[in-house]
């Protein structure tokens, strides 16, 4: 059971207080998009062994969605940050680089 800190209300709580929401930083493809773009938006997900960005909602707390950078292998949490962004903020990227120098970066 993971421990996560909600960046909105600041509470650190265990997994049962949160609801997972899958991969973060997906770009929505709506009407007019190509089949390939739509397919990738709807169905294709990363499944890395290592650094991963995820959506979580503080469902039994403040109700806010936020994003977490986490290692899927060791379960280390590099940081959590507000959902209102299209890519990981610089301080999160720096925190990951410090722990995982070999990480290829967010793409």
């Amino acid at each position: 059971m993971l421990l996560l800190t909600c960046p909105c209300c600041g509470v650190t709580a265990e997994e049962t207080e949160f609801a997972p929401g899958g991969e973060a930083h997906l770009k929505r493809f709506g009407p007019g998009s190509s089949d390939a773009d739509y397919e990738s938006y709807m169905f294709n997900r990363k499944n890395p062994r290592g650094v991963h960005f995820e959506r979580w909602r503080h469902a039994y707390g403040c109700g806010k969605w936020f994003l977490a950078a986490r290692c899927t292998m060791t379960l280390e949490v590099f940081g959590t940050y507000p959902a209102q962004t299209v890519e990981p903020p610089a301080e999160i990227v720096a925190a990951i680089k410090a722990k995982r120098p070999e990480w290829e970066g967010f793409a």
């Binding site: 059971m1 009407p31 709807m42 060791t74 379960l75 280390e76």
Partner: protein, 1004 residues
């Protein structure tokens, strides 16, 4: 024969007799001992039959690792199978029975399996039951089912009368294991000021050290243990628990502890078990080590036991497993057993030592006591049938074709070395390293389980860490380091010093003798509980199994209820040898929680019966309960399915309610309906994205039915939207969908359109909502007075707000029944009074509440769809002929792109139609329309299915809706639906709207 010794027994109270029964036989033990000790004291060495071969089996161990001695404990409602006698404390009135034999323990007919063991080798089931195929269903499966399973499940009528509880707890440092290492780690951590919890799975502190004669600062270990417990108990920051097993270490320091609160003292009002849900900053495992058996022929006979267990029984409980015990070993530690036996006056014909030389201090002590020590030898085989009668000895490096010596004895104490209990270290990803000196896996301190911050959060100490000598200094360091890692800063005093004798190196002996022939190997048990032998693992290797995980599953090694606590390392060693590779190259199987099985009761805790899950009640719940409500669960709500009156069954009650709503007035408690307020300057824009139809053009005061789809285009929810003002909408969702839809809105607003100015609130529970339905509905509301609800003032699909009969009301002129209908929302606190008022005012108009089933029938007669009936997550609005509700003007809405996909616009999609059986009967729910043809898979080809089906009291026959291929183009065609027992039911495709197609009745 096993027996009670005249003196001794550090844990028993000879002044307190305990009476119990074993297979109906009355026996006596002493307070303070385990059931295993009591049984041995009564001379009961045969305790069960093995799983496959039904071989006679007895006690092997003295703790949680016991594979054989499982019994059915208790009676009736308190019966529990597969309880280990070694971890069951004996108490007055205990009853137990042996398992897995027929007809009796002493005479078991299925032991015939043992005569042909070559038929039950590794992979027996896979190999044997493949052919002929037809035999599987009627011959093989019934036979396997009959013989499968260990123990008997409790009766299905049994109800557990005991209570269980769970506790959330927090600490800085959790120490698991209350031996001397765990005690020292706890003391050192506590002395820094950290909050410390210490758990011990048995009923006693101190672990093995007092049994093994360890001295601490010159005193015997018991004295140090007592003094240390006294110190710990006096500290406010320390929490001690006996009979509490660390069951599992989970992510980020979450630990489950299984406390057996009153198993040993039934009849109190204490819960039986307690599950600790501990969040620990740091964890120290001091879980000790488990002795390994040796693999020699006949090592499973009752009377062959672990050397350490023999020592435990003698020292702790004054019980000897025999009159004459041969000790067989590959290490110095087992000499402690020989010495303890000799001191207790038990005969020790010889210590058989596999090593070429034996000359450590313990060996010297044994020799000085006059015990014969044979070196370079091993047991060729154990003699005996249901009990040990002797052993044949041979040279350790031989094939074992002939014996060199024979000893008469009635018990054998074996020691193949020790394995640290690394389970808790490993549960959460801690890695192991192979130790070439002690021949075991121990925790690799450089690769611990990692916490949220990426740092290790588990440390091992004592023999759990592979430390086989003095442990207190290491335990002190582990406790201190753990405390420091949580931020504690105090400095504990130096630890005590434990003195242990030097030990000469052990020899790895994985098979005895080392070059044993096949007929010996097929009698060498690795996994006692699952009957896996050396020859089985070797066969698996020959058949190409290389991965230890595959071999485990193929041979079932380590898959029994003991999870291979005794067998894993021995099995790995045999596999590695067969594969010609070192043991670390083979690796271990995965250690998974719980450490030993925990009760389902503890997992459920208090969440049983009425508090199994929270119940949501509408403001009218009590009225329903008092008036014959036949409850139906709807999500976490309870709604009346119907209200049953005297002399009625469900069916009659439902029909009465439907007919009354169509002729007089029906009242429906619609409070569970989702009510979400969407407001803000961008609310209209947002509503247009949520719904397939246009909502931004809706005028204040008006209502509109709308559809919500997910991004796949699949229908997710539906309901009526009311525009409250220019910048506010009230969204009605389905009863089950309110929370999900609200979450869905928030997701889009927070994560995609976060710059849109929209606010949402889920108001579902703030209002009681009552549908007043039927031709006389308006008449009733007019009697209440206060609002103009005339046809012209409040038109169909409009809403208005005001005081209705003195209540704060919002009246929606909408209909889900096809009748003249008003849905009236009042504040939840006024709900019951409003409902009572409607009933009173409308009594002479024939007002009558109706339940959810009548609601369904009313809507089905009108051809209205229901989310969850007509939809199943793969249905798009177009399938339900709802194209009119899909805006063509909007550039975008959720699901629009999904609906454009090839499969969604395919002409062969099944579409909504009405169905009418030719004989008037009610179609079975979910029935499939069959074409009579076959698919490529030779299954019946289908062309449709029933989605809703009811008896219509209005039309006096069965009515249904369904999805049918090209359905709307096939009006009048007759389909065949598959019913039970291969019945074929004919039904005609008709318009789904079967009642008042023009809508004249709802718009009056």
């Amino acid at each position: 024969m096993s027996h009670r010794l005249k003196t001794g027994g550090r844990l028993i109270d000879r002044s307190r007799d305990v009476k119990f029964t074993f297979n109906g036989k009355h026996m006596k033990g002493f307070a303070g001992e385990t059931l295993a000790a009591s049984l041995l004291a009564n001379g009961q060495t045969l305790l069960g039959r093995s799983f496959k071969y039904h071989r006679p089996r007895g006690i092997v161990a003295s703790g949680a690792e016991e594979p054989n001695a499982l019994v059915g404990l208790g009676k009736g409602d308190r019966y529990e199978p597969n309880q280990r006698v070694t971890t069951t404390e004996v108490f007055d009135g205990l009853t137990c029975e042996t398992q897995n034999h027929w007809p009796s323990l002493d005479f078991d007919l299925l032991a015939v399996n043992s005569l042909v063991p070559q038929f039950l080798t590794a992979g027996f089931y896979y190999k044997t039951f493949l052919r002929p195929r037809a035999f599987w269903k009627h011959v093989y499966e019934p036979v396997i089912r009959k013989s499968a399973g260990l123990g008997k499940a409790p009766s299905p009528d049994a109800r557990d009368p005991d209570s269980y509880e769970q506790i959330y707890a927090f600490c800085d440092v959790l120490i698991i294991g209350g031996g001397i290492a765990g005690l020292q780690a706890a003391l050192s951590a506590a002395e820094t000021g950290a909050r410390v919890a210490l758990w011990e799975q048995t009923a006693h502190w101190g672990g093995r050290a007092p049994v093994d004669g360890v001295t601490i600062d010159g005193q015997d270990a018991d004295a140090w243990v007592a003094a240390t417990i006294a110190k710990l108990e006096a500290m406010d920051n320390v929490h001690l628990r006996l009979r509490c097993m660390g069951a599992g270490v989970h992510d980020h320091g979450y630990v489950l502890g299984y406390e057996r609160v009153s198993d040993h003292a039934p009849g109190t009002d204490a819960p039986r078990h307690r599950l600790w849900r501990m969040r620990a900053g740091q964890i120290v495992t001091a879980t000790g080590a488990i002795e390994r058996p040796l693999s020699f022929a006949g090592n499973d006979l009752p009377g062959v036991m672990l050397a350490s267990a023999v020592r435990d029984y003698v020292v702790n409980y004054a019980v000897s497993p025999g009159q004459s015990v041969v000790v067989v070993t590959n290490n110095d530690d087992a000499y402690r057993t020989a010495i303890a036996l000799r001191q207790a006056g038990v005969g020790v014909p010889a210590v058989v030592d596999a090593r070429a030389e034996a000359n450590g201090p313990l060996v010297a002590e044994a020799r000085a006591a006059g015990i014969t020590v044979l070196t370079g030898k091993g047991i060729r085989k154990v003699k005996g049938g249901k009990k040990v009668t002797g052993v044949e000895i041979c040279r350790i490096d031989s094939k074992g074709t002939a014996f060199t010596e024979v000893f008469d004895c009635d018990a054998v104490a074996m020691s193949g070395g020790w394995s640290p209990v690394v389970h808790l270290w490993s549960h959460c990803g801690g890695k192991l390293v192979w130790d070439d000196t002690h021949h075991f896996f121990r925790p690799d301190a450089s690769r611990p389980p990692l916490g949220a911050d990426g740092a290790g959060f588990v440390r091992a100490c004592g023999s759990a860490d592979g430390e086989m000598g003095a442990v207190l200094m290491g335990a002190h360091e582990a406790g201190l380091a753990a405390a420091k890692a949580t931020g504690a800063s105090g400095t504990p005093p130096a630890p005590a010093t434990d003195q242990v004798p030097d030990m000469a190196p052990m020899d790895a002996v994985w098979m005895m003798p080392r070059n044993a022939e096949y007929d010996l190997r097929m009698k060498m048990w690795l996994d006692y509980q699952n009957d896996v032998k050396v020859s089985d693992v070797q066969l698996a290797a020959r058949e190409g199994y290389q991965s230890v995980e595959h071999t485990k599953r193929y041979t079932t090694l380590g898959m029994a209820t003991d999870q291979g606590k005794l067998s894993n390392i021995n099995g790995l060693a045999i596999l590695s040898d067969a594969l010609g590779q070192p043991i670390p190259a083979t690796g271990t199987t995965t250690f998974r929680p719980p450490y030993t099985p925990i009760s389902i009761g503890a997992i459920a805790g208090g969440a049983t019966g009425p508090v199994f899950q929270p119940l949501r009640r509408t403001p009218l719940y009590d009225w329903h309960a008092e008036n014959g409500a036949d409850w139906e669960p709807v999500g976490q709500w309870r709604r009346p399915y119907t209200y049953i009156r005297a002399g009625e069954d469900r069916h009659k009650a439902v029909n009465r309610e439907v007919t009354n709503a169509r002729t007089n007035i029906g009242l429906l408690d619609a409070s569970t309906l989702g009510k979400i307020l969407v407001s803000g300057p961008d609310a209209g824009r947002f509503m247009d994205m949520l719904y397939t139809n246009m909502m931004s053009t809706l005028k204040p005061g008006k209502c509109r039915y709308g559809l919500m789809c997910n991004e796949n285009g699949f229908l997710m929810d539906d309901g009526v939207v009311a525009r409250l003002s220019d910048d506010a909408f009230l969204v009605h969702t389905t009863s089950g969908g309110a929370d999900h839809v609200h979450g869905w809105m928030e997701d889009w607003l927070q994560c995609e359109w976060w710059d849109w100015k929209v606010h949402t609130v889920n108001l579902t529970e703030q209002f009681a909502q009552i549908a007043v339905v039927g031709p006389k509905a308006r008449q009733l509301l007019e009697r209440l007075g206060g609002m103009d609800v005339s046809r012209d003032a409040l038109k169909f699909m409009e809403w208005s707000e005001g005081r209705l009969g003195g209540f704060d009301a919002r009246v929606f002129r909408i209909s889900f029944s096809g009748e003249l209908s008003f849905e009236i929302a009042v504040p939840a606190s006024q709900g019951r009074a409003f409902w009572d008022r409607l009933l009173a005012e409308g009594a002479d108009l024939g007002v009558m509440p109706y339940g959810t089933e009548a609601l369904h029938i009313l809507r089905a007669e009108k051809g209205f769809i229901m989310i969850g009936d007509e939809t199943d997550g793969t249905v798009i609005p177009q399938d339900l002929n709802l194209n009119w509700a899909i805006s063509k003007k909007k550039d975008d809405f959720l699901g629009k792109r999904g609906m454009e996909r090839e499969a969604m616009v395919h002409p062969d999609r099944w579409k909504l139609v009405g169905l009418e059986t030719l004989d008037g009967s009610v179609l079975p729910h979910g029935a499939l329309a069959v074409t009579g043809g076959k698919t490529a898979n030779k299954q019946a080809e289908t062309e449709g299915r029933v989605t809703s089906t009811y008896y219509s009291p209005t039309l006096k026959r069965g009515i249904a809706m369904g999805l049918v291929r090209h359905g709307p183009n096939r009006m009048g065609e007759v389909l065949e639906f598959a019913g039970p027992n291969d019945a074929r039911i004919k039904a005609r495709i008709v318009d789904p709207v079967l009642y008042d197609k023009e809508g004249a009745k709802q718009d009056v």
